[in-house]
């Protein structure tokens, strides 16, 4: 009985034994001098020149072959590569961890420019499912429409579609910005954790369903809100940022940002009891 009495004094999670686990990550000490010589690309990557331009016809190439050829061209210092006849091939332009101007003259299939970190990509046609999934950094512009799961799990960079996109845009995104000039389908921002989505047109049902954090800006009509997605006040800082970002995206420069609705997480689904231990509070 004594134990029961003691546990009643504790908070609910403590009585459930949730605070016994110590959060200790594995520490690896690495030393580097922040005054080292300025270097703007990953160690071992290529220092390419934007003014050095070449064209590559991939009509008779398989995707792995084409991707390898892009890598070879970068190693030769080419900073602007124009890909001709992509003909809707899947997985083109993936895994580029370099600065690069990459232009696709035509449409791409599934998983276009996935897992990239740094390049500026322009696709003059359409793209299929999961375009730019896991994008880490860079700018990807699609001139026409995009399929479902546009920008799935991106962690950074700007992903822009001038047309409309399918369902689950920005699913599980952890950073970065997705900008859509047209409409978006159902479950936009599904389970997003961080980052920002701007849709200038209408969105389908279940907007921001189960979103943990991040912000969604909608210019048109909303089909319905998803679980835990709520509307918030659009601040002056938001408006200024929206104006700047729409200019960068080359769309909606004259769009009236006052019409935009801001959607955030209601935080009812936050169940991360051990996210930051109490003892660390002293450091604030």
């Amino acid at each position: 009985m004594a134990n029961l009495k003691d546990s009643s004094k504790k908070s609910k999670s403590q009585s459930m034994g949730m605070h016994t686990e110590l959060l200790k990550g594995r520490t690896q000490q690495r030393f580097f001098d922040s005054e080292e010589a300025e270097n703007f690309y990953y160690f071992g990557n290529y220092d390419v020149d934007f003014n050095k331009r070449t064209e590559l016809d991939v009509k008779n190439m398989e995707a792995p072959q084409a991707n390898k050829k892009i890598d070879e061209l970068m190693s030769e210092g080419y900073g602007t590569i124009v890909i001709q006849n992509p003909q809707g091939k899947h997985s083109l332009g993936v895994g580029i961890l370099n600065k690069l101007n990459l232009i696709f003259e035509g449409s791409l299939g599934y998983f276009a420019v996935g897992s990239c970190d740094g390049p500026n990509v322009r696709i003059t046609g359409r793209v299929g499912w999961s375009c730019a999934q896991n994008l880490m950094a860079g700018k990807v512009v699609i001139e026409k429409n995009a399929g479902s799961s546009f920008g799935a799990a991106i962690r950074g960079g700007d992903l822009i579609c001038k047309g409309s996109v399918g369902a689950r845009t920005g699913i599980d995104m952890k950073g970065g910005t997705i900008i859509v000039g047209g409409d978006a389908g159902a479950f936009t921002g599904f389970m997003m954790q961080r980052g920002r989505i701007i849709i200038l047109g209408d969105v389908g049902i279940n907007l921001g369903d189960s979103m943990y954090d991040g912000t969604i800006f909608i210019g048109g009509k909303i089909g319905s809100f998803g679980s835990d997605a709520i509307e918030a006040e659009l601040t002056f800082v938001d408006k200024e940022w929206l104006k700047r970002k729409l200019k960068v995206a080359e769309i909606g420069e004259n769009f009236d940002v006052n019409k935009i609705k801001k959607i955030v997480a209601g935080k009812k689904l936050w169940n991360y009891d051990n996210l930051e231990p109490t003892e660390k509070k002293g450091a604030i």
């Binding site: 609910k12 690495r30 860079g138 950074g156 450091a283």
Partner: protein, 133 residues
């Protein structure tokens, strides 16, 4: 018959998410979430010359992925999270940190870029060991 007193229900105006967080924190007896605003948008007036050069080199119009980088805390020390190494990079003691978050964030961004581009980054060893092509 005595008049029944009708209680006026006052509607409290609360800041978005604030009361919910407090109630939740009370229930679990612990602080939830980050100790800095992860959604804070950068103030471009505070951009450092190094970051300006980096953005120009990459051919971007703004801070791009660095917009999501903020100064956080690890082991009671100011630090910035490196997503490539999946760990915190602590800020050297010799760097004096300004009071406002915007300036601190710019320092964090600069340090993170320098760390990621350094030959001492953990990914360099991993690349040597596991790269297949």
């Amino acid at each position: 018959m005595a008049k029944k007193k009708t209680k006026k229900i006052k509607e409290k105006k609360v800041k978005l998410g604030k009361s919910k967080e407090t109630a939740r924190e009370k229930m679990i007896g612990q602080h939830i979430g980050y100790r800095y605003d992860v959604n804070l948008l950068p103030d471009y007036k505070k951009i450092t010359p190094f970051l300006k050069k980096y953005v120009e080199y990459m051919g971007w119009d703004d801070l791009n992925w660095l917009e999501d980088v903020h100064m956080g805390y690890e082991e009671n020390r100011p630090a910035v999270f490196c997503r490539n190494a999946n760990g915190w990079v602590t800020i050297p003691k010799k760097i004096k940190l300004p009071n406002n978050q915007q300036d601190r964030d710019m320092i964090a961004r600069e340090l993170l870029v320098k760390f990621q581009m350094s030959p001492k980054h953990p990914l360099v060893d991993l690349k040597k060991a596991y790269r297949k092509f």
